[in-house]
């Protein structure tokens, strides 16, 4: 077919091709694609877009005082990971989460990791997400991180690196699940022929974990999902998960705290709530304890949490463990708490508080990506090789003014996967966010995750807020 006459060019690691040809894992997909005219692929592309639009899996862009609904771009060519690679990824994430959870128990408890000189006290003290208000609170089963999304990238050497940890309210899991649903519709045969591992057990596993955290020993604990509301960009995901788990989707105004217990307002009066899967950041969850201007949260919910009358998922205060400056110490945590070497390496990270590291970065700024330590979603990030002179100068000044607020990493050439762009296959850079669930019975990771794609040619920024899209992610044996 014309669109496959010349294979997409790439440098670094491509998930589908080597310089010699098609990787074995992709042979069936490639053969099938080769048998389809480009018009059919374009039609499948439109079919996928309609699927997302009709289901309301959209976000709103405001321009000229009008709200225009857009879908998050979806590329129809799947990203494939082998079972062996997945085992490695899965082992690495489990190891990392164990260490991070032990770190949170420690940092809100004895703080031995500081006393033993592994992590500087100042680093924690200056972290805006370290919350004194939760020190000493006993969390159920000692689990802080129930739900996480660890971002991985694959470098030109073919090695998976951890790019960042998302341990607060990671989003995107509904896209992982819906991407698979749309693939079932557009490539049913291709999916069946490749024996792809199932992902749709995620909501059931999450529901079991949430129910297991109930402080009340009742047959059917009242579990709710707390959303900021319909204007939140992840609102679709909140409704999706609530529906898939059969739990109530509540807003802050639906809940009330009385005598250190949380209740929801129903047509039959007040009913006690046992577990809150909250998709609201720590800062907004309780205006009596954190941001007093918050209208999204529930006044008094922290008092119920402190008394152990309600479980909050994820636990409050996890932000200290996914701070981008603390990230640099995760390999040390793994060594300290588990006495193991990290299975998944970090991307080399320079802490701007360290004078030597800072000087090195400032001298090589155009080869670095500079990130604000307390930002996410691709905000507050400067790619040295793409930035203008003014942007680089601003980054330099900002780093010198507040070094704790920044880290820098060498720019890593993310691996690529071919995408259908304007009727042709073109290589685009991707990352991978597997979703892990941690409950009293251990850690479960759904095989796959969300592959995010930087849709602009050559771009390394995959965040949806910055124009990224996504792909279905297959783990095959």
């Amino acid at each position: 077919m014309a669109y496959l006459d010349s294979l997409p060019s790439f440098s670094g690691w491509d998930e589908m091709f080597t310089y010699e040809g098609v990787r074995e894992r992709y042979t069936r997909v490639f053969d099938m694609l080769r048998g389809l005219p480009v018009e059919v692929l374009n039609q499948k592309d439109r079919q996928a877009a309609d699927f997302f639009m009709n289901q309301g899996i959209t976000f709103t862009v405001y321009a000229d005082n009008k709200g225009i609904e857009r879908i998050f771009p979806f590329d129809i060519i799947p990203r494939i990971i082998t079972g062996i690679e997945w085992q490695h990824i899965s082992d690495g994430i489990k190891q990392r989460l164990k260490a991070l959870n032990l770190f949170l128990n420690d940092i809100y408890g004895e703080q031995n990791i500081i006393k033993d000189g592994i992590i500087p006290a100042k680093l924690i003290a200056t972290c805006p997400h370290f919350l004194k208000e939760v020190v000493g609170i006993k969390v159920p089963h000692n689990i802080y991180i129930h739900i996480s999304g660890i971002d991985l990238i694959r470098g030109a050497d073919g090695v998976f690196y951890v790019l960042e940890d998302n341990l607060r309210t990671p989003s995107g899991v509904s896209y992982m699940l819906e991407n698979r649903e749309v693939t079932k519709r557009i490539f049913p045969e291709m999916l069946a022929n490749n024996k792809v591992r199932m992902v749709n057990s995620y909501p059931l596993e999450l529901n079991n974990i949430l129910a297991a955290l109930s402080p009340r020993e009742v047959e059917q604990p009242n579990v709710v999902l707390l959303t900021p509301g319909t204007y939140n960009s992840a609102y679709y995901e909140h409704t999706f998960l609530a529906r898939q788990m059969g739990i109530a989707l509540v807003e802050g105004r639906d809940l009330v705290v009385d005598n250190h217990k949380v209740y929801m307002k129903t047509t039959l009066g007040l009913q006690q709530v046992d577990v809150v899967y909250r998709r609201i950041d720590d800062e907004y969850i309780d205006p009596l304890v954190f941001n007093p201007k918050s209208v999204l949260g529930v006044p008094g919910i922290m008092s119920a949490y402190r008394k152990g009358n309600v479980a909050l998922v994820n636990a409050v205060g996890n932000g200290v463990a996914d701070d981008k400056a603390v990230y640099a110490f995760v390999p040390d945590m793994i060594k300290y708490y588990l006495n193991e070497d990290p299975i998944l390496p970090n991307v080399p990270t320079f802490r701007m508080e360290d004078e030597d590291q800072r000087e090195h970065v400032l001298a090589n700024l155009e080869t670095m990506v500079v990130k604000e330590t307390n930002q996410s979603g691709g905000y507050g990030m400067i790619m040295g090789n793409k930035a203008t002179e003014e942007q680089l100068e601003l980054a330099r000044t900002s780093i010198l003014e507040n070094p704790r607020n920044y880290i820098a990493q060498p720019i890593i050439q993310l691996s690529t996967v071919p995408c259908l762009i304007d009727g042709k296959l073109s290589s685009r850079h991707v990352d991978l966010r597997p979703y892990a669930l941690c409950g009293p019975n251990g850690i479960e990771i759904v095989p796959g995750g969300l592959t995010r794609v930087a849709l602009s040619e050559g771009s390394l920024v995959v965040n949806s807020s910055q124009g990224g899209g996504s792909k279905d992610t297959w783990v095959i044996d």
């Binding site: 009709n54 289901q55 319909t230 929801m264 047509t267 009066g269």
Partner: protein
């Protein structure tokens, strides 16, 4: 079974707005088709539609009647007008979004696809011939499809009951309002000379024309029509039918409900139902008909407000 008050509120308004949209498109389409016949019989043209479903004043009604493409645009796709079809579906969708975990996927997708259809940038040009009638047909079919989807996919339970209370409050008000427009224009004369061509528009706007033809003979149309639209228990858009459905769903949401206010609400509803059920159409005259229609409307509004206060007070 209980339900979040906010969700009950969302479901109530979702179905109420969709019922209003359904009545609107039914009336628009029928009036549009009838408008192709030159009006020799003083049938009031688009006036009842605009009076019952919009807030247009007399001057605007006068202007719109002379400019049908603009009129269609006004009632269907003018997003700045609160009662246009586009606004109604937009508000229904907002309520559906707020209760998305309690409605079925099929229902959500139907409301969502109607929303996107009306939001389309070409919508204005779809309301000009040769496309206008096709567009009105399409919208009416989508509205019927919505009702079918609701009926065949939504689980019965407390949410279903609140949805239907909203729907039948709306239906009751629509029937009263449209009836009032037609009777008001002839000063509530019960035994006037108006022939069936005058009343046909009202009946078609309520899907009751064929039923009327089957059940009635003679020329006493005004009284017979009033009996059908107010007290006929078998006519699904009659006021009494709507109230009897409301009564059933009200029982469902008040049964075993420990809230103290429900007893007062039940009594309030009982008074409204009795007013309609025990009306003797043969005894009505031009003064008492006007009064009856005003009373039904006022008591339905009051009941709706009281229901909100008892069940939806969550802020």
């Amino acid at each position: 079974m209980s339900m979040l008050s906010r969700i009950a509120d969302n479901l109530f308004w979702l179905h109420r707005y969709m019922e209003r949209a359904d009545g609107l498109i039914l009336t628009v389409r029928n009036t549009y088709i009838l408008s192709f016949d030159i009006d020799l019989y003083g049938t009031q043209g688009y006036k009842p539609l605009l009076q019952a479903y919009t807030i247009a004043n007399d001057a605007l009604i006068h202007d719109l009647e002379k400019d049908v493409p603009r009129l269609l645009q006004y009632v269907i796709c003018d997003g700045t007008k609160t009662n246009s079809m586009k606004s109604l579906i937009g508000k229904a969708r907002e309520n559906a979004r707020g209760s998305q975990d309690k409605i079925t996927k099929e229902l959500w997708e139907q409301v969502n696809s109607m929303y996107h259809y009306l939001q389309h940038e070409d919508m204005d040009s779809r309301l000009v011939e040769p496309y206008a009638l096709g567009s009105l047909d399409f919208l009416q079919q989508q509205s019927l499809l919505y009702n079918g989807i609701v009926d065949s996919t939504m689980p019965r339970g407390i949410g279903w009951s609140f949805m239907n209370i909203g729907k039948y409050i709306e239906r009751c008000l629509q029937t009263v309002n449209l009836t009032d427009c037609y009777f008001g224009a002839i000063e509530y004369r019960m035994d006037g000379p108006e022939d069936l061509l005058y009343w046909r528009r009202l009946l078609l706007s309520l899907s009751g024309y064929e039923l009327y033809l089957k059940n009635n003979r003679g020329n006493a149309h005004s009284r017979q029509i009033l009996a059908q639209v107010i007290t006929n228990k078998d006519f699904p858009r009659s006021v009494l039918y709507s109230l009897l459905r409301m009564e059933k769903y009200l029982e469902d949401v008040t049964n075993d409900n420990p809230l103290r206010e429900v007893v007062a609400l039940q009594k309030q509803f009982g008074r409204l139902r009795s007013l309609v059920e025990y009306t003797d159409v043969s005894m009505l005259n031009d003064a008492t008909l006007d009064e009856l229609l005003q009373s039904i409307r006022k008591q339905t509004w009051d009941f709706s407000a009281a229901l909100s206060k008892v069940f939806f007070s969550y802020t």
